[in-house]
Symmetry: C2
Subunit: 202 residues, 2 copies
Protein backbone atom coordinates (compact mmCIF):
# COMPACT_ATOMS: atom_id res chain seq x y z
CA UNK A 1 0.00 0.00 0.00
CA UNK A 2 1.09 3.57 -0.64
CA UNK A 3 0.18 6.46 1.66
CA UNK A 4 0.56 9.91 0.11
CA UNK A 5 1.54 12.18 2.98
CA UNK A 6 2.15 15.92 3.44
CA UNK A 7 4.21 16.40 6.62
CA UNK A 8 2.99 19.20 8.92
CA UNK A 9 -0.47 19.45 7.32
CA UNK A 10 -3.02 18.53 9.96
CA UNK A 11 -5.14 15.98 8.10
CA UNK A 12 -2.23 13.97 6.67
CA UNK A 13 -0.55 14.03 10.08
CA UNK A 14 -3.71 12.64 11.64
CA UNK A 15 -3.57 9.52 9.49
CA UNK A 16 0.21 9.24 9.79
CA UNK A 17 0.20 9.47 13.60
CA UNK A 18 -2.73 7.06 13.83
CA UNK A 19 -0.73 4.50 11.89
CA UNK A 20 2.33 5.28 13.99
CA UNK A 21 0.33 4.70 17.19
CA UNK A 22 -0.62 1.32 15.72
CA UNK A 23 3.09 0.57 15.26
CA UNK A 24 2.38 -0.08 11.57
CA UNK A 25 4.22 2.62 9.63
CA UNK A 26 6.18 -0.19 7.94
CA UNK A 27 2.97 -1.51 6.39
CA UNK A 28 2.86 1.36 3.86
CA UNK A 29 5.21 3.08 1.48
CA UNK A 30 5.11 6.78 2.32
CA UNK A 31 5.07 9.12 -0.69
CA UNK A 32 5.57 12.77 0.26
CA UNK A 33 3.53 15.48 -1.47
CA UNK A 34 4.26 19.19 -1.14
CA UNK A 35 1.08 21.19 -0.70
CA UNK A 36 3.11 24.43 -0.70
CA UNK A 37 4.42 23.57 -4.18
CA UNK A 38 0.87 22.69 -5.28
CA UNK A 39 1.74 19.07 -6.07
CA UNK A 40 -1.68 17.96 -4.84
CA UNK A 41 -3.34 20.02 -7.58
CA UNK A 42 -1.50 18.34 -10.45
CA UNK A 43 -3.25 15.94 -12.82
CA UNK A 44 -1.28 12.85 -11.81
CA UNK A 45 -2.22 13.36 -8.17
CA UNK A 46 -5.85 14.18 -8.97
CA UNK A 47 -6.11 10.79 -10.67
CA UNK A 48 -5.59 9.30 -7.21
CA UNK A 49 -7.43 11.95 -5.21
CA UNK A 50 -10.14 13.62 -7.34
CA UNK A 51 -10.75 16.44 -4.84
CA UNK A 52 -6.99 17.07 -4.43
CA UNK A 53 -7.13 15.89 -0.83
CA UNK A 54 -4.08 14.70 1.07
CA UNK A 55 -3.71 12.00 2.37
CA UNK A 56 -4.73 9.30 -0.07
CA UNK A 57 -4.19 5.59 0.51
CA UNK A 58 -3.61 3.48 -2.61
CA UNK A 59 -4.35 -0.22 -2.07
CA UNK A 60 -2.51 -2.97 -3.93
CA UNK A 61 -5.48 -3.47 -6.30
CA UNK A 62 -5.44 0.26 -7.17
CA UNK A 63 -8.42 1.26 -5.02
CA UNK A 64 -7.92 4.73 -3.55
CA UNK A 65 -9.26 5.99 -0.23
CA UNK A 66 -9.16 9.66 0.80
CA UNK A 67 -10.42 11.48 3.92
CA UNK A 68 -8.00 11.18 6.83
CA UNK A 69 -10.45 9.58 9.24
CA UNK A 70 -11.76 7.10 6.67
CA UNK A 71 -8.20 5.87 6.14
CA UNK A 72 -7.86 5.57 9.93
CA UNK A 73 -10.99 3.40 10.00
CA UNK A 74 -9.44 1.20 7.29
CA UNK A 75 -6.30 0.80 9.44
CA UNK A 76 -8.36 0.21 12.61
CA UNK A 77 -9.99 -2.80 10.97
CA UNK A 78 -6.78 -4.06 9.36
CA UNK A 79 -4.58 -3.63 12.46
CA UNK A 80 -6.93 -3.99 15.44
CA UNK A 81 -4.32 -3.52 18.19
CA UNK A 82 -3.84 -1.20 19.90
CA UNK A 83 -7.49 -0.29 19.59
CA UNK A 84 -7.88 3.45 18.91
CA UNK A 85 -11.59 3.80 18.06
CA UNK A 86 -13.37 1.85 20.82
CA UNK A 87 -13.99 -1.80 21.69
CA UNK A 88 -17.73 -1.81 22.35
CA UNK A 89 -20.71 0.25 21.21
CA UNK A 90 -20.42 2.78 24.03
CA UNK A 91 -16.68 3.37 23.56
CA UNK A 92 -17.12 3.66 19.79
CA UNK A 93 -19.88 6.22 20.27
CA UNK A 94 -18.04 8.30 22.84
CA UNK A 95 -14.71 8.32 20.98
CA UNK A 96 -16.31 9.29 17.66
CA UNK A 97 -18.39 11.95 19.45
CA UNK A 98 -15.31 13.65 20.88
CA UNK A 99 -13.30 13.16 17.71
CA UNK A 100 -16.04 14.91 15.74
CA UNK A 101 -16.44 17.70 18.30
CA UNK A 102 -12.71 18.46 18.11
CA UNK A 103 -12.69 18.15 14.33
CA UNK A 104 -15.76 20.31 13.67
CA UNK A 105 -15.75 22.82 16.52
CA UNK A 106 -11.99 23.27 16.80
CA UNK A 107 -10.04 22.09 13.74
CA UNK A 108 -12.54 23.25 11.11
CA UNK A 109 -13.34 26.53 12.85
CA UNK A 110 -9.63 27.19 13.20
CA UNK A 111 -9.14 26.36 9.52
CA UNK A 112 -11.85 28.87 8.59
CA UNK A 113 -10.11 31.54 10.68
CA UNK A 114 -6.70 30.70 9.18
CA UNK A 115 -7.87 30.51 5.57
CA UNK A 116 -9.68 33.84 5.79
CA UNK A 117 -7.02 35.72 7.75
CA UNK A 118 -3.50 34.51 6.96
CA UNK A 119 -1.61 36.21 4.07
CA UNK A 120 -0.22 32.87 2.87
CA UNK A 121 -3.78 31.73 2.12
CA UNK A 122 -4.72 34.82 0.07
CA UNK A 123 -3.97 33.21 -3.32
CA UNK A 124 -6.09 30.15 -2.44
CA UNK A 125 -9.13 31.75 -0.78
CA UNK A 126 -10.90 33.89 -3.30
CA UNK A 127 -11.92 36.04 -1.60
CA UNK A 128 -10.64 36.00 1.98
CA UNK A 129 -13.44 37.25 4.24
CA UNK A 130 -12.17 39.05 7.36
CA UNK A 131 -15.60 38.85 9.07
CA UNK A 132 -15.69 35.09 8.54
CA UNK A 133 -12.25 34.92 10.15
CA UNK A 134 -13.43 36.92 13.17
CA UNK A 135 -16.54 34.77 13.63
CA UNK A 136 -14.56 31.54 13.38
CA UNK A 137 -11.84 32.79 15.74
CA UNK A 138 -14.50 33.58 18.33
CA UNK A 139 -16.10 30.14 17.88
CA UNK A 140 -12.87 28.15 18.13
CA UNK A 141 -11.73 30.03 21.22
CA UNK A 142 -15.09 29.53 22.97
CA UNK A 143 -15.02 25.79 22.20
CA UNK A 144 -11.42 25.41 23.32
CA UNK A 145 -12.15 26.99 26.70
CA UNK A 146 -14.96 24.48 27.21
CA UNK A 147 -12.74 21.62 26.07
CA UNK A 148 -10.18 22.65 28.67
CA UNK A 149 -12.88 22.30 31.34
CA UNK A 150 -13.78 18.86 29.99
CA UNK A 151 -10.15 17.76 30.37
CA UNK A 152 -9.97 18.75 34.06
CA UNK A 153 -8.52 15.73 35.91
CA UNK A 154 -8.77 13.57 32.79
CA UNK A 155 -5.79 11.88 31.14
CA UNK A 156 -7.56 11.31 27.83
CA UNK A 157 -10.40 13.05 26.05
CA UNK A 158 -12.82 10.12 25.61
CA UNK A 159 -13.76 6.79 27.19
CA UNK A 160 -10.93 6.97 29.75
CA UNK A 161 -8.22 5.87 27.36
CA UNK A 162 -5.94 6.94 24.51
CA UNK A 163 -7.81 7.15 21.20
CA UNK A 164 -7.98 8.84 17.81
CA UNK A 165 -9.69 11.80 19.52
CA UNK A 166 -6.50 12.51 21.50
CA UNK A 167 -4.46 12.46 18.30
CA UNK A 168 -6.91 14.84 16.60
CA UNK A 169 -6.76 17.32 19.50
CA UNK A 170 -2.96 17.16 19.80
CA UNK A 171 -2.45 17.85 16.09
CA UNK A 172 -5.06 20.60 16.03
CA UNK A 173 -3.22 22.39 18.86
CA UNK A 174 -0.04 22.25 16.80
CA UNK A 175 -1.88 23.49 13.69
CA UNK A 176 -3.10 26.55 15.64
CA UNK A 177 0.51 27.77 15.77
CA UNK A 178 0.20 29.09 12.20
CA UNK A 179 -1.90 31.94 13.65
CA UNK A 180 0.55 32.28 16.58
CA UNK A 181 -2.13 30.85 18.85
CA UNK A 182 -1.09 28.03 21.19
CA UNK A 183 -4.02 26.52 23.11
CA UNK A 184 -1.58 24.13 24.80
CA UNK A 185 0.25 27.10 26.32
CA UNK A 186 -2.87 29.09 27.15
CA UNK A 187 -4.99 26.36 28.82
CA UNK A 188 -3.74 24.28 31.72
CA UNK A 189 -5.57 21.01 31.14
CA UNK A 190 -4.98 21.11 27.39
CA UNK A 191 -1.30 21.73 28.16
CA UNK A 192 -1.07 18.54 30.24
CA UNK A 193 -2.98 16.62 27.60
CA UNK A 194 -0.69 17.89 24.83
CA UNK A 195 2.44 16.72 26.69
CA UNK A 196 0.83 13.35 27.46
CA UNK A 197 -0.05 12.68 23.79
CA UNK A 198 3.37 13.88 22.60
CA UNK A 199 5.03 11.38 24.96
CA UNK A 200 2.63 8.63 23.94
CA UNK A 201 3.41 9.10 20.25
CA UNK A 202 7.19 9.19 20.71
Amino acid sequence: MQLYHAPQAVNPERTYNFLKAKGQLDAVDIVEISIMKGEHKQAAYRNLSPFAQVPVLVLDDGTTITESRAICSFFEHMFPEPNLMGRDAMEKGLIEMWDRRVEFMMMMQFATWFRNAHPVMAPLEKPQLPEAATKAERAVKAFTARLDEHLYQKDWIAAGRFSIADITLYLTCGFCGVMRWRPHEEFENISHHYARVRDHLK
Copy 2:
Protein backbone atom coordinates in the same frame (compact mmCIF):
# COMPACT_ATOMS: atom_id res chain seq x y z
CA MET B 1 -32.49 4.11 25.68
CA GLN B 2 -33.90 7.51 24.80
CA LEU B 3 -33.19 9.25 21.50
CA TYR B 4 -33.89 12.99 21.48
CA HIS B 5 -35.01 13.76 17.96
CA ALA B 6 -35.95 16.89 16.00
CA PRO B 7 -37.97 15.83 12.94
CA GLN B 8 -36.97 17.53 9.67
CA ALA B 9 -33.58 18.72 10.94
CA VAL B 10 -30.91 17.02 8.87
CA ASN B 11 -28.62 15.66 11.61
CA PRO B 12 -31.36 14.18 13.78
CA GLU B 13 -32.98 12.68 10.69
CA ARG B 14 -29.66 11.05 9.78
CA THR B 15 -29.58 9.10 13.04
CA TYR B 16 -33.32 8.39 12.95
CA ASN B 17 -33.25 7.03 9.40
CA PHE B 18 -30.12 5.01 10.13
CA LEU B 19 -31.93 3.30 13.01
CA LYS B 20 -35.01 2.88 10.82
CA ALA B 21 -32.91 1.20 8.11
CA LYS B 22 -31.69 -1.17 10.84
CA GLY B 23 -35.33 -1.99 11.64
CA GLN B 24 -34.64 -0.99 15.25
CA LEU B 25 -36.76 2.10 15.92
CA ASP B 26 -38.49 0.09 18.66
CA ALA B 27 -35.19 -0.16 20.56
CA VAL B 28 -35.38 3.49 21.67
CA ASP B 29 -37.93 5.82 23.17
CA ILE B 30 -38.13 8.83 20.86
CA VAL B 31 -38.36 12.21 22.62
CA GLU B 32 -39.14 15.07 20.25
CA ILE B 33 -37.38 18.41 20.66
CA SER B 34 -38.43 21.59 18.84
CA ILE B 35 -35.43 23.50 17.53
CA MET B 36 -37.72 26.24 16.24
CA LYS B 37 -39.03 26.81 19.78
CA GLY B 38 -35.44 26.77 21.09
CA GLU B 39 -36.01 23.75 23.33
CA HIS B 40 -32.46 22.52 22.59
CA LYS B 41 -31.05 25.69 24.20
CA GLN B 42 -32.77 25.19 27.55
CA ALA B 43 -30.87 24.16 30.68
CA ALA B 44 -32.55 20.76 31.07
CA TYR B 45 -31.59 19.79 27.53
CA ARG B 46 -28.07 21.18 27.85
CA ASN B 47 -27.55 18.84 30.79
CA LEU B 48 -27.87 16.01 28.28
CA SER B 49 -26.21 17.74 25.31
CA PRO B 50 -23.72 20.39 26.52
CA PHE B 51 -23.30 21.95 23.06
CA ALA B 52 -27.10 22.00 22.50
CA GLN B 53 -26.79 19.46 19.72
CA VAL B 54 -29.68 17.33 18.54
CA PRO B 55 -29.79 14.32 18.50
CA VAL B 56 -28.59 12.97 21.80
CA LEU B 57 -28.80 9.32 22.82
CA VAL B 58 -29.24 8.66 26.55
CA LEU B 59 -28.18 5.16 27.58
CA ASP B 60 -29.80 3.28 30.44
CA ASP B 61 -26.84 4.07 32.74
CA GLY B 62 -27.23 7.79 32.00
CA THR B 63 -24.30 8.07 29.58
CA THR B 64 -25.08 10.56 26.81
CA ILE B 65 -23.80 10.45 23.23
CA THR B 66 -24.19 13.32 20.79
CA GLU B 67 -23.03 13.79 17.16
CA SER B 68 -25.37 12.10 14.68
CA ARG B 69 -22.74 9.87 13.12
CA ALA B 70 -21.26 8.80 16.46
CA ILE B 71 -24.72 7.60 17.52
CA CYS B 72 -24.97 5.72 14.20
CA SER B 73 -21.64 4.00 14.99
CA PHE B 74 -23.05 2.99 18.38
CA PHE B 75 -26.09 1.46 16.66
CA GLU B 76 -23.94 -0.20 13.98
CA HIS B 77 -22.09 -2.11 16.69
CA MET B 78 -25.21 -2.86 18.75
CA PHE B 79 -27.37 -3.94 15.78
CA PRO B 80 -24.94 -5.32 13.17
CA GLU B 81 -27.54 -6.26 10.55
CA PRO B 82 -28.19 -4.90 8.04
CA ASN B 83 -24.62 -3.63 7.87
CA LEU B 84 -24.58 0.07 6.91
CA MET B 85 -20.93 1.05 7.47
CA GLY B 86 -18.93 -1.68 5.73
CA ARG B 87 -17.99 -5.30 6.45
CA ASP B 88 -14.24 -5.27 5.77
CA ALA B 89 -11.49 -2.67 5.91
CA MET B 90 -11.95 -1.57 2.29
CA GLU B 91 -15.72 -1.16 2.55
CA LYS B 92 -15.38 0.69 5.85
CA GLY B 93 -12.85 3.06 4.30
CA LEU B 94 -14.82 3.71 1.12
CA ILE B 95 -18.16 4.21 2.88
CA GLU B 96 -16.72 6.61 5.46
CA MET B 97 -14.84 8.45 2.70
CA TRP B 98 -18.04 9.13 0.75
CA ASP B 99 -20.05 9.83 3.86
CA ARG B 100 -17.51 12.47 4.88
CA ARG B 101 -17.30 13.97 1.39
CA VAL B 102 -21.09 14.41 1.31
CA GLU B 103 -21.16 15.71 4.89
CA PHE B 104 -18.29 18.20 4.51
CA MET B 105 -18.46 19.27 0.87
CA MET B 106 -22.26 19.25 0.52
CA MET B 107 -24.16 19.29 3.83
CA MET B 108 -21.81 21.64 5.69
CA GLN B 109 -21.27 23.96 2.73
CA PHE B 110 -25.02 24.09 2.21
CA ALA B 111 -25.50 24.82 5.93
CA THR B 112 -23.03 27.72 5.67
CA TRP B 113 -24.94 29.12 2.69
CA PHE B 114 -28.31 28.69 4.47
CA ARG B 115 -27.18 30.11 7.81
CA ASN B 116 -25.66 33.19 6.19
CA ALA B 117 -28.44 33.85 3.68
CA HIS B 118 -31.85 32.79 4.97
CA PRO B 119 -33.94 35.36 6.91
CA VAL B 120 -35.05 32.72 9.43
CA MET B 121 -31.41 32.31 10.51
CA ALA B 122 -30.79 36.03 11.07
CA PRO B 123 -31.46 35.92 14.84
CA LEU B 124 -29.06 32.98 15.27
CA GLU B 125 -26.16 33.99 13.03
CA LYS B 126 -24.62 37.15 14.39
CA PRO B 127 -23.78 38.47 11.95
CA GLN B 128 -24.97 36.82 8.73
CA LEU B 129 -22.25 37.24 6.10
CA PRO B 130 -23.62 37.47 2.54
CA GLU B 131 -20.16 36.87 1.02
CA ALA B 132 -19.73 33.70 3.07
CA ALA B 133 -23.12 32.57 1.74
CA THR B 134 -22.06 33.23 -1.86
CA LYS B 135 -18.78 31.36 -1.46
CA ALA B 136 -20.47 28.36 0.16
CA GLU B 137 -23.25 28.29 -2.45
CA ARG B 138 -20.62 28.16 -5.19
CA ALA B 139 -18.74 25.37 -3.39
CA VAL B 140 -21.76 23.19 -2.73
CA LYS B 141 -23.01 23.51 -6.30
CA ALA B 142 -19.59 22.62 -7.74
CA PHE B 143 -19.34 19.55 -5.49
CA THR B 144 -22.88 18.43 -6.27
CA ALA B 145 -22.23 18.52 -10.02
CA ARG B 146 -19.20 16.28 -9.50
CA LEU B 147 -21.18 13.98 -7.24
CA ASP B 148 -23.77 13.61 -9.98
CA GLU B 149 -21.00 12.41 -12.31
CA HIS B 150 -19.83 9.95 -9.67
CA LEU B 151 -23.35 8.46 -9.49
CA TYR B 152 -23.55 7.81 -13.25
CA GLN B 153 -24.70 4.19 -13.67
CA LYS B 154 -24.31 3.55 -9.93
CA ASP B 155 -27.17 2.44 -7.68
CA TRP B 156 -25.40 3.46 -4.46
CA ILE B 157 -22.77 6.02 -3.62
CA ALA B 158 -20.10 3.76 -2.06
CA ALA B 159 -18.86 0.16 -2.12
CA GLY B 160 -21.64 -0.98 -4.47
CA ARG B 161 -24.30 -1.22 -1.79
CA PHE B 162 -26.71 0.73 0.40
CA SER B 163 -24.92 2.46 3.30
CA ILE B 164 -24.97 5.42 5.66
CA ALA B 165 -23.49 7.53 2.85
CA ASP B 166 -26.70 7.08 0.81
CA ILE B 167 -28.79 8.18 3.80
CA THR B 168 -26.59 11.26 4.29
CA LEU B 169 -26.90 12.28 0.63
CA TYR B 170 -30.66 11.68 0.50
CA LEU B 171 -31.30 13.80 3.60
CA THR B 172 -28.93 16.54 2.46
CA CYS B 173 -30.87 16.84 -0.82
CA GLY B 174 -34.07 17.29 1.18
CA PHE B 175 -32.40 19.86 3.45
CA CYS B 176 -31.42 21.93 0.39
CA GLY B 177 -35.11 22.67 -0.17
CA VAL B 178 -34.98 25.37 2.52
CA MET B 179 -33.11 27.53 -0.02
CA ARG B 180 -35.51 26.40 -2.78
CA TRP B 181 -32.69 24.39 -4.30
CA ARG B 182 -33.44 20.78 -5.23
CA PRO B 183 -30.35 18.88 -6.41
CA HIS B 184 -32.54 15.79 -6.91
CA GLU B 185 -34.60 17.69 -9.49
CA GLU B 186 -31.65 19.41 -11.14
CA PHE B 187 -29.26 16.44 -11.56
CA GLU B 188 -30.29 13.26 -13.31
CA ASN B 189 -28.18 10.70 -11.46
CA ILE B 190 -28.85 12.28 -8.07
CA SER B 191 -32.55 12.21 -8.95
CA HIS B 192 -32.47 8.44 -9.53
CA HIS B 193 -30.44 7.97 -6.37
CA TYR B 194 -32.89 10.06 -4.33
CA ALA B 195 -35.86 7.96 -5.48
CA ARG B 196 -33.95 4.73 -4.80
CA VAL B 197 -33.08 5.72 -1.21
CA ARG B 198 -36.62 6.99 -0.56
CA ASP B 199 -38.01 3.62 -1.65
CA HIS B 200 -35.40 1.74 0.38
CA LEU B 201 -36.28 3.65 3.56
CA LYS B 202 -40.07 3.21 3.20
